[in-house]
């Protein structure tokens, strides 16, 4: 409890800088990551984050000191150059983009490692800051770092605010954007520059490899929850921020725990959770929908069976035992009596002492299902041209899916048929 208060009250200046820095980083990477995900360039960020290393080292070799602005300038230039190389290689050879990303990523990084080890072996005393560009140093952010981060975040948000319409259009459909006269090339440059800028800043915090996660994962989770760009931007920023604070908190509790990897683990946990529970696409959601549908199907099948028994005897007031119902449908006893109990509660059936009778509502529903079944059979034979002996199985499942609107259209197109292909009467709507 005490540690929670100490962390979240931000008394500790160190905690303050780390949390503030991570939040700012979250904003810029999540925003730019969303656009690069939509432009199907998620892995280009991976190439850039590996490719900044030689720029950093060269700039150090030339200037001889680790002044943050010159290192970042070097990083920025080699990041841009790497993206240009990726494009140039895939455009001018038969190599596809994945291979050119792989080549640029690894060769730039290899060059960086050579320069870095070269500098280290020279024994230059001030080289120690350079490997921040490899592994990040989230735990020891300085006020000056936070300043740099706020500038980048502000620039980022301002650009997105200013060019929101253009970026949106360009990300979804560059061809169309060009056709209505947007300066596509310039937008591409701006987005690329923003991406490289936020990566250069982010690497020093979370390290080379995990930078990709900061770009990709929040956007991918957000995409899972919404189809709308603005919501997606907001969501990915929120997810990213939650993960950042959580990561910072964990490494605050256990100081030998690295911040960056924990942020990514939290983000990945959120992704996993989304895959499970997100509406429409989540696994649990889908499972639940399937369960509801299955129940509905089973209930409707029993009603239909009872209705058709009544049809045979020309009276729907009879009571039926389980055996009677089984004569139309093969079901396990426990199941059917449980279904009948549910139908009783819903008011479709009176189910007492092992005997079931349809209520007026039940007769209506039973006739509805039977009608839809026979209508679909008629449609399949008459319009779709399927032989009458092949349509039953299909109708057996479609009867549960046909909506009122679809039923109306079927009746219209088939001109209110009275008999189905098996010469059974199609119950009219009443």
């Amino acid at each position: 409890m005490e540690t929670i208060v100490r962390f979240f009250s931000l008394q500790d200046p160190n905690v303050r800088y780390v949390v503030l820095g991570m939040l700012l980083l979250s904003v810029s990477t999540a925003v730019i990551g969303t656009f690069s995900l939509l432009r199907k360039k998620a892995l280009a960020g991976d190439a850039v984050s590996h490719a900044v290393l030689p720029g950093v080292c060269l700039s150090f070799l030339i200037s001889g000191q680790k002044e943050i602005w010159s290192l970042m300038a070097g990083a920025f230039v080699s990041g841009l150059l790497s993206l240009w190389c990726v494009q140039y290689i895939s455009k001018h050879s038969k190599l596809k983009e994945d291979a050119s990303i792989g080549i640029v990523l690894s060769v730039f990084f290899g060059l960086g490692v050579v320069l870095l080890t070269f500098i280290q072996h020279q024994g230059n005393a001030s080289q120690s800051g350079l490997d921040a560009f490899l592994f990040g140093k989230a735990a020891v952010l300085m006020p000056s770092d936070v300043w740099v981060m706020s500038i980048v975040a502000v620039v980022m948000l301002f650009m997105v605010y200013a060019f929101y319409k253009e970026f949106t259009l360009f990300s979804f459909d560059p061809g169309f954007a060009q056709s209505i006269g947007l300066p596509v090339q310039r937008l591409e440059y701006i987005l690329t520059a923003l991406m490289v800028m936020s990566i250069v800043m982010g690497i020093q915090t979370v390290g080379v490899v995990l930078m990709s996660a900061m770009l990709i994962t929040p956007a991918a989770i957000a995409r899972f929850w919404t189809n709308q760009l603005f919501r997606m931007l907001i969501l990915s920023v929120v997810f990213s921020m939650i993960a950042s604070v959580a990561g910072a908190y964990i490494s605050f509790l256990a100081p030998n725990m690295p911040t960056g990897p924990w942020i990514v683990v939290v983000l990945s946990g959120m992704a996993l959770l989304s895959f499970l529970v997100a509406p429409q696409r989540g696994i649990v959601w889908k499972w639940w929908q399937a369960r509801i549908l299955k129940r509905k199907t089973a209930e409707e099948n029993v009603l239909k069976a009872m209705y058709q028994l009544g049809e045979k005897e020309n009276s729907f007031q009879e009571t039926y035992t389980l055996e009677d119902i089984f004569s139309r449908r093969a079901y396990a006893t426990v199941y059917t009596s449980r279904i009948l109990q549910r139908l009783h509660h819903q008011g479709y059936v009176i189910w007492e002492q092992g005997e079931a009778q349809l209520t007026a509502e039940g007769i209506r529903k039973g006739s509805l299902i039977t009608r839809r079944h026979r209508l679909w059979e008629t449609y399949l034979t008459q319009v779709v041209n399927i032989a009458p002996d092949h349509v039953h199985d299909d109708a057996e499942s479609m009867e549960h899916l046909i909506t009122e609107e679809l039923e109306k259209k079927l009746l219209e197109q088939l001109k209110d048929p009275s008999l189905d292909p098996h010469q059974s009467e199609i119950p009219p709507i009443n």
């Binding site: 779709v384 299909d394 499942s397």
Partner: protein, 262 residues
């Protein structure tokens, strides 16, 4: 109208196929006679490629079955040949025309066996038959579209099968190549082979095919060309999708509902 035949080479029974849980073919049911040159016709998105991919086991089906020579596909693979669409492969792959044709012999080779002299000669012969012998060692990316299609046909010939399924072999092919390919198909049929071709161009149907399948999400007609290739049936095939059937597909897709209750 669907004409069924005795002792069919291909028998498709009540075949329903879903793609990404969305039904694209409903209750397709037909038979093909031996020695027929079959045109599979229908508008875009009618499920023509899906049909032959399903028969060849590339796509699973939701219900029904298909039999070739009265048997399961796995029992008669060596007698059946499949020619995919030209666009389905990356022609930058490092292989010569000859390499590709030799792949036609792989089905008959064991797992670790090398191609024998007979296999190699066969491959060369097949290249000659399609008029590509001069290009045998050319890298496949350097061939024109028509030449690539001829290489694919040569590969099918090298399989020495009795039944051929071809997915749009005339797509992107110039008129003279189409004539060459057509001559080869016709000579195959006269030797008792059965060839089924996914085809686009309605102009040439009467001249090319002895049997026609009309397809649009469901089978509209199957039968001899002179009986099936007529105004009314074509109108039914190409006159737009069945709106109710498409709506139903959407519903099934949205609910992720199994097409058949299990």
């Amino acid at each position: 109208m669907i004409t069924h035949v005795e002792n069919p080479v291909v028998e498709v029974h009540d075949l329903t196929v879903s793609y990404h849980k969305k039904p694209v073919l409903w209750g397709v049911d037909f038979t093909l006679p031996q020695g027929a040159l079959v045109g599979i016709l229908g508008p875009n998105g009618a499920g023509k490629s899906t049909l032959i991919k399903t028969i060849m086991g590339l796509i699973p089906h939701s219900s029904g079955f298909s039999k070739l020579f009265g048997k399961e596909l796995s029992e008669v693979r060596n007698r059946v040949s499949y020619v995919p669409q030209r666009e389905s492969v990356d022609w930058d792959f490092p292989a010569s025309a000859y390499d590709v044709v030799l792949m036609g012999r792989y089905g008959k080779l064991g797992l670790f066996n090398r191609p024998r002299k007979a296999d190699k000669e066969m491959a060369m012969n097949c290249l000659e038959k399609v008029g590509m012998a001069d290009f045998a060692h050319r890298q496949i990316a350097q061939l024109s579209g028509g030449q690539q299609q001829r290489v694919f046909l040569a590969r099918a010939l090298a399989q020495d099968a009795d039944l051929y399924f071809m997915d749009e072999p005339f797509a992107g092919v110039d008129a003279s190549t189409e004539a060459i390919l057509m001559d080869i198909l016709k000579s195959m049929v006269t030797r008792g082979k059965t060839v089924a071709v996914v085809h686009h161009d309605l102009q040439s149907v009467k001249e090319y095919f002895s049997w026609v399948l009309l397809l649009n999400m469901r089978l509209v007609a199957s039968g001899k060309t002179e009986e099936v290739f007529q105004e009314e049936l074509l109108q039914r095939t190409f006159g737009g999708k069945l709106t109710l059937l498409s709506k139903m597909s959407e519903l099934v897709h949205k609910n992720e509902f199994p097409v058949r209750e299990s």
